[in-house]
Amino acid sequence: MSMQIDTLAYGNRLRHLPPGQKVLFACVLLVLVLAGQPLVQWSITAWISLWIVAYANIPFSFYAKMVAVASLFLFASLPALLIEITAASHLPANSLYAIHVSAWAVYLSKAGLEKAVILFSRSIASFACLSFILLTVPFAEMMQVLKRLRVPTLICELLMVMYRFVFVIWEAAAQLYVGQQARGGYNGIRAGLKDAGMLVRMLFVRTMQRYRQLSIGLAARGFQGDLRVLSLTHYKRSARHEAEAVLGIVLLAGMELWMGGYL
């Protein structure tokens, strides 16, 4: 696994827009998706994908792969939604396909299929909105949004340390993995499990070392119990993007109302 989302987010072309605006935009759309009709949901998917791929300049192949991987959950759940089992005598008339096993019937339910279709459009659209946040608001800026939302300081501080060291520890794990392989490790499943155990242990030991070192390193910088930092970033609002966002949301909301949704 590589943390490519993070890398792409720092290089996205909508980086200069205020992060609060981007998060708000995606959240409004997310609400519309959760409450909306499939047609509205598909429109949102298309529109936000345009923002992601065209405006933010995220490679389409990466975005598509991200959606595909996330959809795994959807596909994994499909059989449970579609296939129903019942006594043969109770088989609904609108079943799409049925196999009879003695007194039982295993069938594809029409209602299940409809549910799956709805679920499909909702999940994909919501995921697209989430992706917009992931790919256009880098984590450090997300933290600024959280601070503005008055999320407790302790949460912000812990998230900051975590974010910083996720990458350090990840790097350490990758290095250890390479180190083991270079000495012929991971040779077979049993040895592999043992090697993985060694790696996790070393990683734990190293994490504790890091803790001791970091306490010293930060104390040297005057750590007094707070992990407060300030950000310098200047964001530029863009009238064009704001106009498109507002207009689009109004149109989508209108479409939803017109189609008799429960907004």
């Binding site: 450090a140 910083r164 070192q213 930060l218 707070d226 930092v229 300030l230 310098l232």
Partner: protein, 295 residues
């Protein structure tokens, strides 16, 4: 600049909890203001412990640390002030960097000092420019190269305008061009009035760069002085398992009769000085100097 003493330590002893041997023992030294000092010594000789003590992170079991003549008291306020005045850059930048982005990280020390936001931002801005980090300001730390990380950790310390900068092996793992760049930055820092004390294993660097040399062995200070006093005796340095800087050894190996002809017989401290010493021989112009002498 007068050569007042910035940091002074008298009779320090410190033993890490659980350790058998003390890490520093009966250590007495004075770090002069306005100088570029290096601290030499084998691994485990107590260099790092001395740094931690200088910054107030280790409280010595015995002895006293003085900062600008006043003994360091270990209450919170004076420690905070000491840590502003004595900047410590540790070996591994990962040890010292904590925030999400470069600019945020540089602001950390300032925020700890409780400065108002506007001032913090101004100072961070200035530090970013000074260390040529402006372009990286919004980059997350994990995307930086080692050289860049080291620059950020230096910037995060220098932004507090310390009067003494302690550096623990800043050149390790740097390539020659990165090392050169770091030395240039340190030169600027020194010019701007900050005293520097650098722990290093690089004897060549010590020879060419330092104004003052400390040598530690086994928790004690065993030699100190100007480079041409400390770094020229093969026997003494060999006994400390350090060896001579190459330039010194090579100069000393030059035939005595050549050296006698020279006007300036000091051991050169840079290649340029080396050339200058020898220039008189080629200035007789019995032939065109090789192209390598051009530059």
């Amino acid at each position: 600049m007068t050569t007042t003493t910035l940091l002074q330590a008298t009779g320090l002893h410190y033993t890490y909890p659980g350790a058998k041997e003390p890490a520093i023992r009966d250590l007495t030294l004075s770090v002069p203001a306005g100088k570029k000092s290096v601290l030499l010594g084998r691994n485990g000789c107590g260099k790092s412990t001395l740094f931690l003590t200088a910054n107030g992170l280790c409280r010595p079991d015995e002895g006293t640390v003085f900062w600008q003549g006043k003994p360091v008291t270990y209450d919170r306020r004076s420690l905070l002030a000491l840590r502003r005045d004595v900047g410590l850059v540790l070996q591994d930048p990962e040890q010292q960097l904590v925030a999400g982005t470069v600019a945020e990280d540089i602001s950390y020390g300032l925020c700890n000092q409780g400065l108002p936001d506007r001032e913090v931002k101004e100072k961070v801005q200035a530090a970013l420019e000074r260390f040529q980090l402006t372009e990286l300001a919004d980059r997350p730390l994990h995307q930086l190269s080692l050289g860049q990380k080291k620059r950020v950790s230096l910037a995060g310390v220098m932004v507090l305008s310390p009067q003494l900068l302690l550096l623990d092996e800043p050149t390790a793992y740097l390539d020659p061009s990165q090392t050169r760049r770091l030395i240039e930055e340190l030169e600027q820092i020194h010019q701007a009035g900050t005293a520097i004390l650098m722990a290093t294993h690089d004897l060549e660097l010590a020879w060419s760069w330092a104004d003052w040399v400390f040598v530690m062995e086994n928790g004690r200070l065993v030699m100190q002085g100007e480079p041409h006093e400390v770094l020229v005796s093969a026997e003494e340095l060999e006994a400390l398992q350090l060896g001579l800087p190459q330039m010194v050894a090579l100069w000393q190996a030059l035939p005595v009769r050549w050296k006698e002809q020279m006007t300036n017989r000091d051991i050169p401290r840079s290649i340029d000085e080396w050339r200058a010493r020898l220039a008189m021989f080629d200035s007789r112009k019995d032939e065109k100097p090789g192209y390598l002498l051009k530059r």
